[in-house]
C-alpha cells in the first residue's frame, strides 16, 4: 500500500504584497488544496510543514500547528470516536530535501493505516523584512494532499544519498549585528553559497540519480517525468543537460536571480498537474537536493 497525490496547490504573494508572511501564504495554499480536493480539514490526520525561512523565525509552536489552526483542522478531543479525526502536526527542517522527507513520513503513516489523508505544506519568506544578506528566495508556498492507494500506484521507493564532505558549501544562519553607537543591533540572516556549490549539486544529483535507477530497476528510457528542486540558480538547466532528458524534465520559467526554494518541486509538480502530463505519465521520479549535500529521490507510479 502506497500513498497517492490527491491534490496540489500553490500560492504566491498577491500583486503589490511582496513582503509576506510565510505562515499566511502556506495557509492560503493549504485552504486552496483542501477546497480543490473537496476534503474536510478534520480528515487530515497528519500535517507536515517543510518550509525553512519562517515568519519572524518562530520557534514554537510549530509552523504546522499555526497553519493547522488557520485551516480549521482543530476539533476538540471529547471522546474516543473524535480521536480518529484528530490532526497531528509538526515541522521538518531538511533544506531542499524537506519535501521528500515529509512525503516519506506521511507515506509511512498512511501505510501504517493510521491516517487516511496527510498534508504537506511548505513556504518560505524573509523572516524579518530587510534584515538579510543574499536572500534570493521567492516568497512562495505550496500544499499537497496524499491519500491511501489501494494498489501499487503512488510513491513506492524513497532513497537519500549523502555527501557529507560538502557540508560547508551552503550555510545559512543568523548573526547578531551590533553597530554600537546609538543604533539598535539586529539579528541578520546571512546565506553563504560557495561558487562550487552549483557544480557539486549537479554532480551529486547525477551520481545519485543513476544509483537510484539501479536500485529501482528502471531504465532511463522508461522515465516519463522528472520533477526536481528548482534551487540553486541554474541547477535544473545544468542537470537537464547532463541527464539528456529535455522533454521529460520539468523546469520553471526563470524569474531573474530569485529562486523557489522548498516550494520549488511543488511548483514544478503543479505545472504538470494542470496540463495533465502528471496523470498521463507512468513512471515519475522526484529529485530533491539540499545543503549537506543530501540528494533524495522517490519513484511515483501512475
Amino acid at each position: 500500500m502506497g500513498a497517492l497525490i490527491k491534490m496540489v496547490s500553490v500560492a504566491r504573494p498577491r500583486i503589490g504584497f511582496h513582503h509576506v508572511n510565510s505562515i499566511s501564504l502556506s495557509a492560503r495554499a493549504a485552504i486552496q488544496c483542501l477546497s480543490d480536493a473537496q476534503i474536510d480539514p478534520f480528515t487530515i490526520g497528519l500535517l507536515v510543514n517543510t518550509g525553512i525561512y519562517r515568519h519572524k523565525n518562530t520557534g514554537e509552536p510549530s509552523i504546522a500547528a499555526l497553519i493547522q489552526k488557520k485551516i480549521s483542522a482543530c476539533k476538540p478531543v471529547n471522546n474516543d470516536s473524535d480521536k480518529s479525526e484528530s490532526t497531528f502536526s509538526f515541522d521538518i527542517n531538511n533544506g531542499g530535501c524537506g519535501f521528500l522527507t515529509g512525503i516519506e513520513i506521511i507515506h509511512s503513516a498512511i501505510s501504517d493505516g493510521e491516517i487516511t489523508y496527510g498534508m504537506l505544506v511548505t513556504g518560505d519568506s524573509e523572516p524579518f523584512h530587510g534584515l538579510s544578506e543574499n536572500f534570493n528566495i521567492h516568497p512562495a508556498a505550496a500544499a499537497l494532499i496524499l491519500e491511501k492507494s489501494e494498489n501499487s500506484t503512488g510513491f513506492s521507493l524513497f532513497r537519500t544519498y549523502i555527501f557529507p564532505e560538502y557540508s560547508e558549501e551552503f550555510v545559512s544562519c543568523t548573526f547578531f549585528h551590533d553597530p554600537k553607537w546609538f543604533r539598535k543591533g539586529r539579528n541578520i540572516l546571512n546565506i553563504k553559497q560557495k561558487e562550487s556549490y552549483l557544480d557539486l549539486c549537479v554532480n551529486c544529483s547525477v551520481e545519485s540519480f543513476f544509483n537510484f535507477l539501479d536500485e529501482s530497476g528502471i531504465d532511463l528510457d522508461e522515465i516519463d517525468l522528472i520533477i526536481s528542486s528548482q534551487s540553486p540558480i541554474g541547477f535544473t538547466g545544468m542537470l537537464k543537460k547532463r541527464l539528456g532528458l529535455n522533454g521529460n524534465f520539468i523546469e520553471l520559467e526563470k524569474t531573474g536571480e530569485m529562486i523557489y526554494h522548498t516550494a520549488g518541486p511543488l511548483f514544478a509538480l503543479k505545472k504538470v498537474w494542470d496540463d495533465n502530463r502528471f496523470r498521463s505519465s507512468e513512471n515519475i521520479i522526484f529529485l530533491t537536493i539540499g545543503s549537506g549535500i543530501n540528494v533524495s529521490l522517490a519513484l511515483y507510479k501512475n
Binding site: K56, E60, A65, C173, N187
Partner: protein, 349 residues
C-alpha cells in the same frame, strides 16, 4: 514478520554552569517572584557556559549515548535532531544545513540519513513517533534522536521585561539548558515494544505559548499564558490517555512510572489530581526531576529517564508512560516496558 521498536540507550550532556533560582530571582524587586522556587519546585538550573550552545550539547549527548550503546556511530541508519533552538557558534541560529547532518559528520555516522524536526517541547517524542514508524515498517533498524536546548537566553529577555507577576514571560524563568540523545532499535520482542499513541495537535490553543527570535537582541523570547495552557492540556489529555491505555489493555494503576513534561511541580501535581478525579486511579509514581534542571523543553522526558536509570530506580518490566504537553497544543503518549537497559546504567554501589 512484524517488528517493534524499543529504546536501546540514552545519553545526556549537562551544560557547564549552574544558576540557582535564588540568584535569578534576586534580580527582581517584586516580592512574589522571589517565591518562584517554592511555586515551581525548581531550586536551580544548568545553563550554557562560554563555548557551549545547542549544537555542542546535542553532539556531546549523542557521544554519551553511544558510550552506553552496543551500536557504533557508523551502524546508525537515521539521526533526527529534535531541538527547538538551533544555535551554533553562540546565539547564531542555523537554518541550513540541518543540525542532524552536522552531528552525523561529527560523530562519524557515515551512512545515517538525517533531518531535523521542530515541534516545541514535544520534539523528542515526535522523533520517537517518526522513528517508531520507520523501524516497525522495516525501513531502518536503528535511529538516534537527539536534542540540545540552549533556552536560558530567553530568561535574559524576561529579566528585562518582567514588571509584575502577571507577566507572560514569567515561564521563561523556569527554563534550563540540557542535551539528550536516545537510540531506538528494532526488536522482534512483542512485549517490550513502544506503544506510541494519541499524538494530537489541538491547534485552537496554539497561541497560548509562543517563542521566537528577538529582532533587536541576541537569542529569543517566549510568551506564555501559563494557567490557560495548563488547564487546556489537563482537560484535553484525559481522553487521549484513556485511549492509549485502552490500546495497551492497561489501566492507569498498571503504570509504574508516569513521566510528564516537566514544567513546574505545582502544575504536575494538579494535573495528576485531575487524572485521579477523572479516571479514579493513580499511577505508581509521578516522576518530577526539575528541581536541579528546571524545564529543559524537548529534552525533559529523556533527561528524567536517564536520571532514574542512573539512580537505579527502575526495574526490568516496569511499565513507563511518557506524557508530552507542548505548545501547539500537542498531547502525546508513549508507553513501554523497561527492558535490560536498567542493568547498563548507574552503579550498584
Amino acid at each position: 514478520m512484524g517488528w517493534n521498536c524499543q529504546i536501546e540507550s540514552i545519553g545526556v550532556k549537562s551544560p557547564g554552569r549552574r544558576l540557582s533560582t535564588s540568584d535569578l530571582t534576586g534580580k527582581f524587586k517584586i516580592p512574589c517572584i522571589r517565591k518562584l522556587s517554592l511555586l515551581t519546585g525548581i531550586s536551580e538550573r544548568k545553563i550554557c557556559s562560554a563555548g557551549e550552545d545547542s549544537f555542542s550539547l546535542a553532539e556531546d549527548a549523542a557521544r554519551n549515548c553511544l558510550s552506553y550503546s552496543k551500536y557504533r556511530a557508523d551502524e546508525l541508519d537515521m539521526i533526527i535532531n529534535c531541538s527547538i533552538t538551533k544555535y551554533k557558534g553562540g546565539l547564531s541560529h542555523l537554518y541550513e544545513p540541518s543540525f542532524s547532518s552536522l552531528i552525523r559528520n561529527r560523530i562519524g555516522a557515515r551512512r545515517a540519513i538525517t533531518f531535523d524536526i521542530s515541534n516545541a517541547c514535544a520534539g523528542m517524542l515526535t522523533g520517537v513517533y517518526i522513528a517508531d514508524k520507520f523501524i516497525r515498517q522495516g525501513i531502518i533498524k536503528t535511529c538516534m534522536i537527539v536534542s540540545g536546548e540552549y533556552i536560558s537566553n530567553l530568561c535574559d529577555h524576561a529579566i528585562k521585561n518582567i514588571r509584575t507577576t502577571l507577566s507572560s514571560e514569567l515561564s521563561s524563568l523556569t527554563l534550563g539548558d540540557y542535551g539528550t540523545a536516545a537510540i531506538l532499535e528494532r526488536t522482534a520482542d512483542e512485549k517490550n515494544g513502544l506503544i506510541v499513541s494519541g499524538f494530537t495537535t489541538l491547534s485552537q490553543y496554539s497561541d497560548l505559548c509562543t517563542g521566537r527570535q528577538n529582532r533587536n537582541a541576541p537569542g529569543g523570547k517566549m510568551r506564555t499564558k501559563a494557567r490557560k495552557i495548563h488547564q487546556a492540556a489537563v482537560k484535553e489529555s484525559v481522553p487521549i490517555v484513556k485511549e492509549a491505555l485502552r490500546k495497551c489493555r492497561l489501566s492507569l494503576k498498571d503504570i509504574k512510572w508516569l513521566i510528564p513534561h516537566q514544567t513546574s511541580r505545582s502544575s504536575i501535581i494538579s494535573g495528576a489530581n485531575h487524572y485521579f478525579e477523572c479516571l479514579g486511579e493513580k499511577p505508581g509514581q509521578i516522576v518530577i526531576t526539575l528541581k536541579e534542571t528546571g524545564n529543559t523543553a524537548s529534552t525533559t522526558h529523556f533527561l528524567a529517564l536517564y536520571k532514574y536509570l542512573n539512580e537505579r530506580q527502575f526495574s526490568e518490566n516496569d511499565i513507563v508512560m511518557l506524557l508530552c504537553f507542548a505548545s501547539g497544543l500537542i498531547i502525546g503518549v508513549v508507553i513501554f516496558k523497561m527492558n535490560e537497559i536498567v542493568y547498563r546504567y548507574g552503579s550498584t554501589n
